[in-house]
């Protein structure tokens, strides 16, 4: 029969010779193979201490952005919710009152903004749909939890820390990925 590749090997069905019947050479050969594995590099990464670096295009948990003065970017236009193929995003809009100019950048804001992380498929379409750079996908993934309802993330869970009150946490949350997005 014509072999498809040159890797095919004919099985040797000849009766074992005396040396082969002694088993010992085969055992020693096998043991030298296992011994050589002592010196091999171990592929394991000690997880909690060391983490594998994410790819620069990794799409993780969503973050609701603020501008440089700490005002929320989101205007509750609903484009992200429309773009979302998994229908994970819901929101309720509200009008900015006088004296709230330091909280919200524009006259309309999201009073309630929820993402169901069990529905979310991390496609990043919300990020692409957003005209205000208000939402982007960070480099962290959603942590595990015990209850399903804990996975419905509210604004509290999603908002980025205040850039002036807590600049370090803000920078950390911004990560590398946000650098590509023009923040105002």
């Amino acid at each position: 029969m014509q072999a498809l590749t040159n890797k095919a090997k004919q099985v040797d069905r000849a009766p074992m010779s005396f040396i082969e019947k002694m088993y010992l050479p085969a055992i020693i050969k096998g043991m030298s193979i296992t011994f050589s594995h002592i010196f091999k590099k171990k592929p394991t990464i000690n997880y909690p201490e060391k983490t594998r670096p994410f790819s620069p295009v990794f799409r993780g948990m969503q973050i609701l952005n603020r501008d440089a003065e700490g005002r929320e970017n989101c205007t509750a236009c609903g484009l992200c919710a429309v773009a979302c193929p998994a229908e994970a995003i819901t929101m309720e809009a509200a009008e900015r009152q006088a004296g709230e100019e330091n909280l919200y950048r524009e006259e309309k804001y999201a009073a309630k903004y929820e993402i169901n992380m069990l529905r979310c498929i991390f496609c990043g379409l919300c990020e692409e749909a957003c005209p205000k750079d208000a939402i982007y996908l960070s480099e962290t993934f959603t942590p595990a939890d015990y209850q399903r309802k804990q996975f419905i993330y509210s604004k509290n869970d999603l908002l980025i820390p205040h850039p002036q009150e807590n600049p370090e946490a803000y920078k950390k949350a911004l990560g590398n990925r946000a650098n590509k997005i023009t923040v105002n």
Binding site: I27, G30, M31, I33, T34, F35, H37, I38, K40, K41, K42, P43, T44, N46
Partner: protein, 346 residues
């Protein structure tokens, strides 16, 4: 008559017994750790490294776990024998270390202390006797479980140990013809002055080694507890510390058979290519213990190395190897040794 008892000797031996038993328990504990670590390293993994530095507290964690597990004695078992099984296995495992010379004499505040619990003149016979009793622990436990898988495991263990003990005994006879003594201490002293017995008895050592693997129920002869055929073999019904005792006694057996092999064939506490008599007796004794332990650790590593290399034998292959290959080989070795001794001594 009571006053004639040497109380100091009694105390000395008592201390020695306690030290030896606890040392072998400790070593068995860390052998379980070493087993997992060696397995991991041979398979390109890291092994246990979470409990304490380098995972060194892992055996303690395992022991704690075993203690806190629910203790189940099946309703349909013979309760007394069920408890007796693991106890017997542990007892026989610990008893073997009594005749092993751990080192030379040590000078302790003007009193010479022999680093051997009992230098009986039938030393190796005692070891063999106790080791053969070890199978009772397995058999009683497996019978008392009233479970077919346990019983199968027990049967396998019994027939395997009987088959391999024959070849082991015969290979030992050849060794005894050379040494002319049954005392383990005497054998070590002979090897210190002459060659190690492994040089004189390479075939005998090989047979002994293979049989030791079978006696310890280690892979490739671990049929009594073959997981994928017999669930857990003879300890299927056991849980908690009773299971721990079975597992533990197995590791102690491994340690003891390593010590016996090191003593019989590799010079015991003899340091190779070195004359101990130039050192002070205490230093020589301590170095001797270190030498013996090094050999033992090498043997234990060999046990593990083989376990993670060679797959399990089929039962008929096991019997074939024992009865049709090892016993004739051992007999041949015995006759050849006898012939050579006769030829050179005439």
């Amino acid at each position: 008559m009571l006053l004639a008892i040497d109380f100091a000797l009694l105390l000395e031996k008592l201390i020695l017994v306690v030290v030896v038993v606890f040392a072998s328990l400790g070593i068995a504990m860390y052998t379980t750790f070493a087993e997992r670590k060696v397995a991991a390293i041979l398979q390109d993994r890291r092994g246990p490294n979470r409990a304490g530095p380098f995972g060194l507290l892992q055996p303690l964690a395992d022991g704690m776990k075993l203690f806190f597990k629910e203790e189940i004695i099946p309703n349909f078992s013979s309760k007394f024998l069920f408890v007796m099984g693991p106890a017997l296995a542990m007892l026989t495992a610990c008893m073997t270390s009594a005749v092993i010379p751990w080192g030379d004499k040590i000078d302790f505040f003007g009193r010479t202390v022999d680093l051997q619990i009992a230098d009986v003149n039938i030393g190796i016979l005692y070891v063999f006797g106790v080791v053969s009793l070890g199978v009772y622990g397995i058999m009683i436990g497996s019978w008392a479980s009233n479970n077919k898988f346990s019983l199968m495991g027990g049967l396998r263990a019994a027939s395997q140990i009987i088959s391999y003990e024959l070849a082991m005994g015969i290979s030992l006879i050849a060794l005894l013809m050379i040494t002319g003594t049954l005392s383990l201490k005497e054998m070590v002293v002979q090897q210190q002055h002459g060659y190690w017995n492994v040089v004189l008895q390479p075939l005998g050592f090989l047979i002994f080694l293979v049989c030791a693997f079978a006696e310890c129920n280690r892979t490739p002869f671990d049929l009594p507890e073959a997981e994928n055929e017999l669930i857990g073999g003879y300890h299927t019904e056991y849980s908690s510390m009773k299971l721990g005792f079975y597992l533990f006694s197995e590791y102690i057996n491994m340690f003891v058979s390593s010590v016996v092999m090191a003593t019989l064939f590799f010079g015991g506490y003899d340091i190779p290519f070195f004359d101990e008599s130039v050192l002070s007796p205490n230093l020589a004794a301590i170095l001797g213990i270190v030498a013996l332990m090094t050999k033992v650790i090498a043997f234990i590593f060999l046990f593990m190395w083989v376990r993670w290399t060679i797959p399990r034998f089929r039962y008929d292959q096991l019997m074939h190897l024992g009865w049709r290959i090892l016993i004739p080989l051992a007999l041949f070795n015995m006759l050849a040794t006898g012939g050579v001794i006769l030829f050179f001594n005439k």
